[in-house]
């Protein structure tokens, strides 16, 4: 009775299978069924499912030998991102300091030129005023001499 039920269930599943309507879970059930049961299923049909149920792909493993240690490691030396960031930060810092220093130097030079110019202008103004005063004194002295005569 139990076998009959099993047979009926599997027949329905097989019909769905051949029409591409089974899920992965259904197909696993079919494989398990054929692995564990020897019911009266047509011989040819059971061959295919026995093949699938006995085919355990996990048993096929690959040994890449020294591929990992030699070729891969030489070709792809791992760069630690933290180390990379540290180096990048140092470079950015050095460039920033250099820019800051150059900018300040330039600014100070410009400032010095302005101060010197102002100083020269003040000095020239002072000389000009002194000359004017001298000229005035000279003229008044000349006027006094001519008046006495």
């Amino acid at each position: 009775m139990r076998n009959k039920r099993k047979f009926k269930d599997i027949t329905i599943l097989l019909s769905k299978y051949w029409n591409g309507l089974t899920s992965v879970q259904d197909e696993k059930k079919i494989k398990i069924f054929f692995r564990e049961n020897n019911l009266d299923i047509p011989q040819q049909e059971s061959e295919w499912f026995k093949l699938l149920s006995e085919y355990h792909p996990e048993s096929i493993i690959v040994d890449l030998g020294d591929f990992e240690t030699s070729e891969v490691k030489n070709k792809f030396k791992h760069i630690n991102p933290i180390v990379f960031i540290k180096y990048a930060a140092v470079i950015v810092l050095v460039i920033s300091i250099w820019f800051g220093y150059s900018y300040n130097k330039k600014r100070n030079e410009e400032k010095n030129v302005v101060v010197l110019r102002q100083k020269v202008e003040t000095d020239l103004l002072f000389i000009s005023q002194s000359l004017n005063d001298g000229m005035k004194n000279l003229e008044s002295a000349q006027d006094g001499i001519f008046d006495n005569h």
């Binding site: 299978y17 051949w18 029409n19 591409g20 992965v24 197909e27 696993k28 047509p42 040819q44 049909e45 061959e47 295919w48 093949l51 699938l52 006995e54 085919y55 355990h56 792909p57 996990e58 048993s59 096929i60 493993i61 690959v62 040994d63 890449l64 591929f67 990992e68 070729e71 891969v72 490691k73 070709k75 792809f76 791992h78």
Partner: protein, 163 residues
């Protein structure tokens, strides 16, 4: 470390090898393709997190490498199944003769199918992958995957069971 225990690539390495083996039918060619693919994947390891299904992405890379190789070498590297049978039996990788025989039986049954249908059937029947994952690996739509599975099974049924 590139090959630490949690490395995604290491986890699916055997699956990638099996897929390469199903494409080439030759253990040495499959190894070459796998190594080439690993190098390519490592070059793009910064992009790995972008992919929801890394395994499907890696398998697609295996297939692309295989197709590029085939384009490059023509049919020179494709060994007929009968020849590869003898070769496989001596191969150290497949120490268990049983799995080798089963693999060859499977290949023989689907031998007459078009290449894409073989790949779809392999991924579904052997690797037990969902339609979505298969469509990701082979860059085809899910509907196409369903159609290929249906046609493939119908072909097997007709060839083997309705003689």
């Amino acid at each position: 470390m590139l090959f630490d225990k949690n490395n995604k690539l290491l986890k699916c390495q055997n699956k990638l090898y099996r897929f390469a083996l199903s494409l080439t039918n030759d253990a040495n060619d499959a190894k070459d393709i796998l190594q080439e693919t690993i190098l390519k994947l490592l070059e793009k390891r910064n992009e790995w997190n972008r992919f929801d299904n890394f395994e499907a992405y890696a398998m697609r890379s295996v297939r692309n490498t295989y197709l590029n190789d085939r384009k490059k070498w023509g049919n020179a590297r494709v060994i007929p199944i009968d020849v590869s049978l003898e070769f496989e039996e001596e191969n150290e990788i497949e120490k268990k003769m049983n799995i080798s025989d089963l693999r060859n039986d499977f290949n023989r049954i689907i031998a007459k199918l078009p290449e894409i249908q073989k790949q779809v059937l392999y991924l579904r029947e052997i690797e037990e992958m969902e339609y979505k994952a298969i469509s990701d690996v082979l860059s085809i739509s899910e509907t196409q995957v369903k159609v290929y599975i249906f046609r493939g099974r119908q072909f097997i049924k007709k060839q083997r069971y309705e003689k």
